[in-house]
Symmetry: C2
Subunit: 453 residues, 2 copies
């Protein structure tokens, strides 16, 4: 192991340069115009896997390609583990809030600023650098490894389930390892044993056949933007509870043990409020902020669009109004049922003066595993060796849809070992990745194969 | 008069071509990038006034220029009248709904399609063509005429009051004539004796300092889009009443005589519903559609903007949410008071979890005059001569802010003689102007000077 750790220490500057190259691809999966960038990024990643000594191939799918790589000379007797990551990124908009261009990686102190630096290019890259250290120092890996890097995580991983089914044999593994989340603080690594799920949709209300002059017609016809506000406004009450009947069906109550873990997290409500920049925190009554974001479901408006949005004014009754909605869901809510109930509830709230359209539906199940398994214990030891601190057990608010697909298709649980920091601005302008965490992540990956193997 | 009427009849094709030239200027006053187009359009209009025999000049203002023109050889003994119009237009967005480009005038049957064709370039041009007929046929005008064409009507006529004050002497007149509205049907001309006023503002709610990942942070912080929906949603109740305390203070009740006039308007609620393309009409309980649009005040959302609006989804809690609002106001509401009360009401509805900003405030008073004056009676006779039908008396839902300025500065009432049709798509895609109404408007203007003189 010494050779591996030395190799990692000595090559950090080169690793950072390589990561910058990776980050220059604007691999924005949700925008069709960036399709060529996703393909170029996948080709670059495949080539990089080969360069470090892996057998790698680029696999076409119905959507963006998957990069599949293996450690060479597989040995049937060694256990096999699968590392998952994604090379696609969130849209960088709003551009004007970036202090440096999102796809021109910039180093500021010990921080690397770029879209995708933390989510998830930087984290998957740490795993590649760890295996590179094994291969380049001729250190024997105690296990065989498979790497699966997809390009559709930010748009719902639509092609991955079919990919997993198709390559089921090749992908068989003991467990899946994913680093695509965060840790509570720089000196507090964590193993995540629970994730929120998600249900998404877009609602459009259509009123008049065209935008109408608000002087000539205003007052005689429903304003779709007003109808949308009234409907969405009724989806959440003053105590932060979602009003859809049946919404909370199956929600696991927070246990005393879990509440104790949440209390151990660093930071105060006051420092959290300042970090977010809000005048006052808000959430479901009876829960702390960390509990609200990890173990309680939400109903969020991600975007609103209606009428005239340009400079100055335009005196119209808009023809339509639209909202993009996602709900974060928790164990054991059923996302399909919640989505159905939500749309049904909206239909009852919708006045007969507008037409409601629901599009873009998608769901992903929440996830919860036992943190006492042998694999989880091995991961906790690897975290402690890499960071030099006793890790904690957490549940996270994000969704990693494919965790449930891995369970379903490969019958494998997932070890969630994220090492982005809470201020990484994931999905926000000025996304950043801590370079110490990058290095620690590489060490963690190197130790992990020893502990698991 | 025969020479004038013959001249008008014989020159229609040329008039239409000239109007098309006028319509090719994208004189969108609300968009700064179009400033040069407004100036070019004003220069063209000034030149055109000179060509038909008027004394014309272009007057700079703090905003877009005013075109000022007079009939030549003023005679102190003749009464003077002032014709007002505006050469600026509404933004054409959304472009994709135009069947032909908004600034490439297109003739379809007896209709001219272009942004500004009805509002207001086509209507002001009819007045110019009538005076051209008098001048070119050497027919004596029984009065002196002043023409004032501004470029800021669609953005609140900010520079006009100062312009009127500055040129008060030159602009002194018996009455003002404005054709910037519509008539109930092709065979039913109207004199409008009342207008709604307006109060406008923009509301922005700011929450977190940046867009936040809805998985990591969602549930612990107010969603500004949700807060905006809840606030705006509460501004109107289920019966269509605005909830701001004091909002209806001063609203003149509808008289039995007025209600009778509204009942004489053509069309049914059913045909009106089909024309607008809505599944069901909606408005304040206790009033018909024509009453709701003419004599009752409104609260309209003209635009909504928040978060991600592009293709696909983006799982964020948006940092801010914004709405553009206009309220149409009626006699004798006080727009300044209503605006103040509205902002105060929103402030009480605003949760402490977001910061509220109000910008872009503007108001214009409602207008109401006696329809029995000598000038009004003269206008009714001119309408009957031009259209061959007995005109009706109406109140209109639109706002022509400068009507109150004319009253205040020049102490002159206004004759509102609009001849756009209700299906002119004013402020909407595919704005159009009926060419028969164009010709009848010219005749009306020609008769009007005889009747008034």
């Amino acid at each position: 192991m010494k050779a591996v750790l030395d190799y990692l220490r000595e090559n950090q500057p080169r690793f950072v340069n390589e990561l910058c190259e990776f980050l220059r691809f604007p691999s924005i999966s949700t925008q069709a115009e960036h399709r060529p960038d996703l393909q170029a990024c996948a080709r670059w990643l495949t080539e990089h896997c080969r360069k470090i000594g892996l057998d790698a191939e680029i696999c076409t799918t119905a959507g963006h390609p998957v990069v599949l790589a293996h450690t060479p000379r597989p040995n049937g007797r060694r256990p096999r583990f699968l590392v998952y990551g994604h090379y696609d990124v969130q849209p960088p908009e709003p551009f004007e809030l970036w202090r440096t261009p999102p796809f021109q990686p910039t180093i500021r102190g010990r921080t690397l600023v770029a879209r995708g630096s933390a989510d998830d290019k930087g984290q998957l890259f740490a795993h590649l650098k760890a295996v590179e250290a094994y291969i380049k120092t001729d250190t024997e890996l105690p296990c065989d490894l498979t790497f699966v890097f997809e390009g559709e995580e930010e748009i719902g991983s639509h092609s991955l389930p079919a990919f997993l089914r198709e390559h089921r044999q090749k992908l068989a593994c003991e467990t899946v390892v994913i680093s695509d989340g965060d840790m509570p603080a720089k000196n507090l690594p964590a193993l995540t044993y629970g994730l929120r799920g998600i249900a998404a949709f877009e609602i459009t209300l259509r009123g008049p056949a065209r935008d109408l002059h608000s002087g000539i017609f205003g007052g005689s016809v429903e304003n779709p933007a007003m109808a949308l506000c009234q409907m969405l406004g009724r989806m959440r009450d003053a105590r932060g509870k979602i009003t859809t009947p049946g919404f909370y069906d199956g929600v696991k109550p927070l246990t005393a043990v879990e509440r104790k873990q949440f209390k151990r997290l660093p930071g105060t409500e006051q420092s959290y409020r300042r970090f977010l920049g809000v005048p006052q925190l808000f959430g479901e009554a009876g829960f702390s902020s960390s509990e609200r974001t990890a173990v309680r479901p939400t109903f969020e408006i991600n975007g609103l669009t209606s009428g005239y949005q340009g400079e100055g004014g335009k005196t119209i009754v808009p023809a339509w109004a639209r909202a993009k909605i996602t709900m974060r869901l928790v164990p054991d809510q059923n996302p399909t049922k919640v989505l159905k109930a939500t749309v049904a509830h909206l239909a009852t709230l919708c006045p007969p003066t507008v037409r409601m359209e629901i599009t873009g539906k998608g769901t992903s199940a929440p996830y919860l595993v036992k943190p006492s398994s042998a694999h989880a214990q091995a991961a906790l030891r690897a975290l402690e060796s890499a960071f030099g601190v006793k890790p904690i057990l957490t549940r996270e608010g994000g969704s990693i849809p494919i965790v449930t697909d891995f369970k379903k298709v490969l019958r494998a649980d997932t070890l969630l070992l994220g090492f982005a920091l809470p201020d990484a601005n994931i999905h926000s302008p000025n996304e950043q990745f801590d370079l110490d965490c990058f290095a620690a992540g590489q060490r963690m990956s190197a130790f992990l194969w020893q502990e698991l193997g």
